[in-house]
Symmetry: C2
């Protein structure tokens, strides 16, 4: 997905929020904002929005001497979500359609996006969970279930810390012997890395690889060869979060995206409302199928 | 008022909205956005936000070959507001405190900001008018009335087209023999120029001067010498709109600002909520008075 002009004010807004959350002082905030303005002035809009996210967060980490400002927040969010896990797992198991319930809760985890909200409120999360179980889901769960059945080799692309606990609920509905989970290679925002997969018990469940990159999404050209090989070999990819949608939607692979449409630009791209819960197969594949 | 970092995403959002409203095509939109990003990267933040507005709208007009993209919109908004004028005038005359009613309606005119909304809805405007007459006004109308009484020479700084009709209601409550109205010197956004003062009948009521500048506010250094002299000589200045507040708040003159606080940054500066109706004397003067 290309970057559109509406993304630019949003990049600047996110930059300021991120550098403040990271504890950057007034001078640091100013230097980062001016650097991002310069990057954005020359930004190649054929690239996806997460390519800009990568540059922004590299600038912020460089200003902070390479330190990951989100490390402690991510740990807290994993812990917070792990406390919810037993009850949420009961909900999935008790559901009439456990796969659908797990997809819905995985999207709830995406909706919460605890990295954006530095403070997470228990009541607010409970509300998001109930909504996610009740509101319409834009997607075909039966088709998704069939794709899982038919798959030989499933690669699950995780999104954020905290959210990754909700992803575990979905993973547990998959044939685990066929599944590998991929996380980001290096810290970027609150995106899950190997540390997070370890903390929430996913490493004990399935093989976990990392993609070698520091992009809040999956730009294949930025990922290391081992990840790219694994990506190519998989016959089903489940991609969590809007960043993975923005970076992989045009890739001609059998990808199912599972996320909440969080901004107007993505909602327009999907022809849905902001806040819609999405389970969607990559357009590249759908078109290939249609023209067969 | 200095520009704060929060203003930057807003500049970009406004740029995109303005260039689209002006009918700029996709390439024009992109060129303007990139040019504004470069300007913003080096922008002197000791300047007020309208200084950036001036640069943005110069870039847009230059892209459009110098044509004023708002000319027709301004004409429509004046006409729209003139249709409301007789009824609003009755409301002012029938009010227990006509000056207060006129201040409130002048703020309603500012709240509508018809330049930002390309389409103006009659029902929506009626609602804004009723609210403006009912909700709390942050300011001391009796003190304002006394300042008007005591003044020898009043300079009224108008804001936008359309809104200038609402300003006329306030002007009619002033001792007209002491009043001069000032408009912008050249087109910028939907700000009122001499043409608008003519169209809405203000030129027939009081002397109208222009400030020689194309700033959506009043940056004295950008105004021509004749205006600056007139500004210096006045012992009471009534400044309409947020742009005039942002540019004149620190000026040590007897200025009353009349406007709605439309953004978080200005609301924080005023220690009020967004949407508050403001009648406020310049801080510079208040401080001078306090330390006497």
């Amino acid at each position: 997905m290309r970057t559109v002009l509406e993304c630019i004010p949003c990049f600047l807004r996110q930059t300021l929020g991120a550098v403040r959350l990271a504890g950057g002082d007034a001078e640091c905030q100013e230097r980062v904002m001016r650097a991002v303005l310069r990057e954005a002035a020359d930004f190649d809009r054929t690239l996806s929005p997460p390519a800009m996210g990568q540059r922004i967060h590299r600038l912020i980490r460089a200003e902070l001497g390479g330190r990951d400002p989100y490390a402690e927040i991510k740990r807290q969010h994993n812990e917070f979500a792990l406390n919810l896990y037993p009850e949420l797992r009961e909900r999935v198991l008790a559901a009439e359609n456990s796969l659908e319930a797990a997809v819905r809760l995985a999207i709830a985890g995406n909706a919460i996006d605890m990295g954006v909200n530095s403070h997470v409120d228990v009541d607010q999360v409970a509300k998001i969970v109930e909504q996610a179980l009740a509101v319409p889901l834009s997607g075909d769960v039966a088709e998704f279930a069939a794709a899982i059945d038919q798959a030989r080799d499933i690669l699950f692309l995780a999104d954020n810390a905290g959210e990754i606990v909700f992803d575990r609920l979905l993973l547990e509905q998959l044939p685990l012997e066929k599944v590998t989970v991929a996380v980001r290679g290096r810290p970027v925002i609150n995106d899950a890395t190997r540390t997070d997969a370890d903390e929430v018990g996913i490493t004990a469940l399935v093989p976990v690889i990392d993609n070698g990159a520091d992009v809040p999404g999956t730009i294949l050209g930025e990922c290391d060869p081992a990840f790219r090989r694994r990506f190519d070999e998989s016959d089903l990819i489940i991609a969590k979060g809007q960043g993975n949608y923005e970076t992989l939607n045009d890739v001609p692979k059998n990808i199912y995206f599972v996320f909440m449409a969080k901004c107007q630009v993505v909602a327009r791209h999907l022809n849905c409302d902001v806040g819609s819960m999405i389970l969607r197969r990559a357009v590249g594949v759908a078109e290939q199928t249609a023209t067969r």
